[in-house]
């Protein structure tokens, strides 16, 4: 029994006192499916109270606005499940975007451009994984170093300025659409499916969770911990690379300054979705919901014209409430 649990057990009375007001149905819903219920309530609330929230075009816009965070969150979930963290994703997005823009323009081939972008992402990811797995360096620091380094590479590659793309078909990547949704949205959906399946239905995914729970035990149980870590970080790099290339195509330029602070938003979404920062716990639906909650709140604030300064407060408060809620749920569960 850990102190965390101790703390929960001791804090439970405070919570239950404040619970009196909630109706029984809501309480049950919260109990059973937790965050999903919160999201549904939130969504219904926003649909009713925020004009124009529940319109086709707004939902499409909402989806599009979360593609970057959502896509990268799927692999960040794997990294966190492993008990590690990757702070370099935003830099990877910028770097791979710039690389794709430069390579597309110099080679004239979209294929080469895209491939170089994704390969650059994979290389950075694999390097991160290598440093973490081979030398046992704390991933927070290893990827913090990578975050600086790779951002530097993005600036150097681009000369500091946005890179223009001379091959028009490159833009199709970001804007081609199918069934009303564009490629970036489909990519996000695809990533959710792939990594959901990977996490839950394959030995690989279970090994990731096991390693996050107890790396030594996993090693003794025949998991190749080192290869696993390198693979997961490399996947993170690939996905961040894909996201970076799509962003570049969507925005029409390779911008080395883009997405600063993205890593924290992605990690927040994962944690909101119930992924534990100490490893071993992850759920793809949780992450999906986490991403959607963040996206909906941000979108609603836009629709409601909330002043920026207050947006900071709202984001901070939402994050805090979400984790408090999560703790409360766990406390209840362990006390029933």
């Amino acid at each position: 029994m850990s102190t965390e649990k101790l703390a929960q057990a001791q804090s439970a009375p405070d919570f239950s006192a404040s619970r009196g007001g909630l109706s029984r149905i809501v309480r049950n819903l919260l109990d059973t499916s937790g965050l999903i219920a919160v999201f549904i309530l939130l969504f219904i609330g926003l649909s009713i109270m925020v004009p124009d929230f529940l319109t086709g075009r707004n939902i499409v816009g909402l989806l599009l606005s979360v593609t970057l965070i959502g896509t990268i969150a799927t692999t960040m979930m794997m990294v966190l499940a492993l008990g590690e963290v990757d702070l370099s994703v935003a830099s990877i997005v910028a770097f791979t975007g710039v690389v794709a823009a430069v390579m597309t323009s110099t080679s004239g081939s979209v294929f080469i451009g895209v491939m170089s972008g994704v390969a650059a992402g994979a290389a950075v990811g694999a390097f991160n994984g290598f440093v973490v797995a081979q030398f046992g360096v704390n991933s927070l620091i290893a990827t913090l170093a990578a975050m600086e380094f790779v951002r530097g590479l993005a600036y150097i590659t681009s000369g500091g300025d946005a890179v223009m793309i001379t091959v028009p078909s490159f833009f199709d990547l970001g804007s081609a659409s199918f069934l009303g949704l564009t490629v970036p949205v489909w990519t996000m959906i695809f990533c959710f499916i792939i990594f959901g399946v990977l996490l839950n239905m394959t030995a690989f995914g279970r090994n990731v969770l096991a390693t996050g729970g107890n790396a030594e035990a996993a090693n003794l149980a025949g998991v190749n911990v080192r290869r696993l870590k390198i693979t997961v970080f490399a996947l993170q790099g690939v996905v961040a690379g894909v996201a970076g290339v799509l962003l570049t195509s969507r925005m029409g330029l390779g911008d080395p300054n883009t997405s600063i602070g993205l890593e924290l938003a992605v990690i927040s979404a994962c944690v909101l979705g119930g992924v534990s920062l100490s490893g071993g716990v992850a759920s793809i639906t949780g992450v999906l919901v986490g991403v959607l909650i963040m996206g909906s709140v941000q979108n609603a604030m836009g629709l409601l014209n909330v002043p920026t300064f207050y947006q900071y407060l709202v984001r901070g408060a939402i994050l805090l409430l979400a984790v408090l809620f999560d703790r409360w749920k766990q406390t209840r569960r362990s006390r029933v």
């Binding site: 057990a9 239905m201 394959t202 969770l209 729970g213 035990a217 996993a218 090693n219 003794l220 716990v281």
Partner: protein
């Protein structure tokens, strides 16, 4: 008879899906060593955690020296003079031995830690523990597990407690350390303290304890104020609710050709190149005192540690495994000795803990898990090993120590491979369950598999093994056949010359 000094009055504790203690009432006197016994998951540790303020009760209270108490946290219990040595270690690895001994009550002078007093006090208690060899400035992480356990005991002694409880203290102690522990327990009794003592070892009960209370499934079964008219069989049947004639139940069988041959293996902790072999259908024991190098040797065999020299011959190949993964894939699996750090995935379910490795046999197209098969497999072993859990989805971290151990064993028993290496497999496991486990080991041997068992339990190795290798100071001293393996002979080989 006067009121007991410590009385548990109608204590109940509930966890999700589990009633860990069910209206338990009994008392323990000052100046007695009171044994608490019962199957794994009976509620012994839970009871001690009620005493120490960690677990909250749903009914009942404690009476100490005529006063009623319901502790809300650990500090309240400490203030009442209660000290507990828990089943799992609770030390801060990077602090010194001295600081760990006095954690929570560091000596302070003028606002600063009094380093001299700290060292003096630590030296005093280390002497008391018979661990004069340990420098109080050593970091705890550099001690052996047994030594760490002794530090825990020392910390409890320094509390000057009126009530001291031990939760399976001997399961990781060396012979010498056990001797010191027994001396300390006697002294505490003579000083008039209440000593509660949880153990699965019958010999300890009869040697050290004055009274005994037995639990089963969270219920109080009996309290015997004296052990005069109690014998082994009575206790066992009170504990497990059925008769067990011979725990070991050895079964004779034929042995095949050599399956695994270890030749001249050298590595850290192994003083002399070590060699031995194991036959098909054989249960091979590895006996020695704690720290003799048994774990090290088998870690080298299974690729968990890098060997400096030697080779392992297995299935026609001759070489070394470079990782546990490689060993498992070739057909050798090792169940590690320290379940907390090497075994369990605390936040994962019992099912996942069982299936982590063997699921490769059930996978579809070598990629997707077969969850139905996994669940069936988990349920199968929960039944066969009588793992006390609400179901395969329960988090293993909420299970009792012994049931966690059974789950880890199930992980390896479920492997379809040729050589099973088990490091202290029955540590912390109750009598009834041990019988089931031995029987499963014989089953494996009868199917032509080989089993290697490391054990510090003399009776266990000499009763269940076909041959026994004895190690001392990092050397394989001798390999003794079952017929010659008297406890005296084994101990004689294992003890320092």
């Amino acid at each position: 008879m006067s009121d007991p000094y410590l009385r548990f009055d109608d204590i109940s504790v509930e966890f999700p899906g589990v009633r860990a203690l069910d209206h338990v009432s009994f008392g323990a006197n000052a100046g007695e060593v009171h044994a608490l016994m019962g199957e794994n998951g009976a509620g012994k540790s839970t009871l001690l955690k009620v005493l120490s303020g960690v677990n909250r009760v749903t009914s009942g209270a404690l009476w100490i020296d005529g006063e009623r108490h319901v502790f809300a946290n650990e500090r309240e219990a400490l203030d009442q003079g209660i000290a507990i040595i828990y089943q799992e270690l609770t030390l801060s690895p990077n602090l010194s031995v001295a600081e760990n001994l006095l954690l929570g009550q560091l000596p302070v002078r003028k606002g600063f830690v009094d380093r001299r007093a700290l060292r003096e006090t630590a030296l005093g208690v280390l002497r008391d523990l018979g661990e004069e060899g340990i420098d109080p400035a050593t970091r705890v992480r550099d001690l052996s597990i047994g030594q760490q356990q002794m530090i825990e005991i020392g910390r409890a002694l320094l509390r000057n407690a009126r009530i001291i409880a031990f939760d399976e203290p001997t399961s990781s102690l060396s012979v010498q350390e056990i001797r010191n522990l027994k001396r300390i327990v006697k002294r505490l009794r003579d000083e008039g303290k209440v000593v509660l003592y949880v153990t699965h070892r019958m010999d300890e009960v009869f040697e050290m304890c004055d009274a005994i209370t037995v639990f089963r499934d969270g219920q109080h079964i009996s309290t015997h104020p004296t052990l005069e008219h109690i014998d082994h069989d009575v206790l066992v049947s009170e504990m497990v609710g059925r008769e067990i004639e011979d725990v070991y139940g050895y079964r004779e069988r034929q042995h095949g050709p050599v399956q695994l041959e270890v030749k001249g293996l050298k590595g850290p902790g192994i003083a002399e190149p070590a060699s031995f072999d194991v036959r098909q259908g054989e249960v091979f024991g590895l006996f020695g005192l704690v720290g003799a190098g048994r774990s090290e040797l088998l870690r080298l065999v299974c690729g968990a540690e890098k060997a400096e020299a030697g080779s392992v011959r297995f299935k026609g190949r001759d070489g070394l495994f470079t990782s546990p993964r490689e060993a498992i894939q070739s057909g050798i699996a090792m169940c590690p000795e320290d379940r907390k750090t090497q075994g369990i995935f605390a936040i994962a379910s019992v099912g996942d803990n069982i299936n982590i490795s063997c699921r490769r046999f059930f996978s579809r197209w070598k990629l997707f898990r077969n969850t139905a098969r996994e669940t069936r497999n988990a349920r199968d072993y929960i039944r066969r090993l009588r793992i006390k859990t609400p179901g395969p989805e329960t988090r293993i971290g909420t299970l009792s120590g012994g049931n966690q151990q059974k789950t880890i064993l199930a992980r390896w028993l479920a492997e379809d491979i040729d050589v099973f290496v088990m490091d202290e497999p029955t540590r912390g496991i109750d009598v009834g369950a041990r019988r089931d486990i031995y029987s499963l080991l014989y089953d494996l041997a009868e199917q032509g598999k080989s089993v290697v068992v490391i054990s510090s339990d003399l009776a266990e190795v000499s009763s269940i093994c076909d041959r026994i290798g004895v190690m001392r100071d990092g050397r394989v001293i001798d390999v003794v056949h079952r017929d010659q393996a008297t406890p005296e002979r084994l101990l004689g080989l294992a003890l320092p010359a």
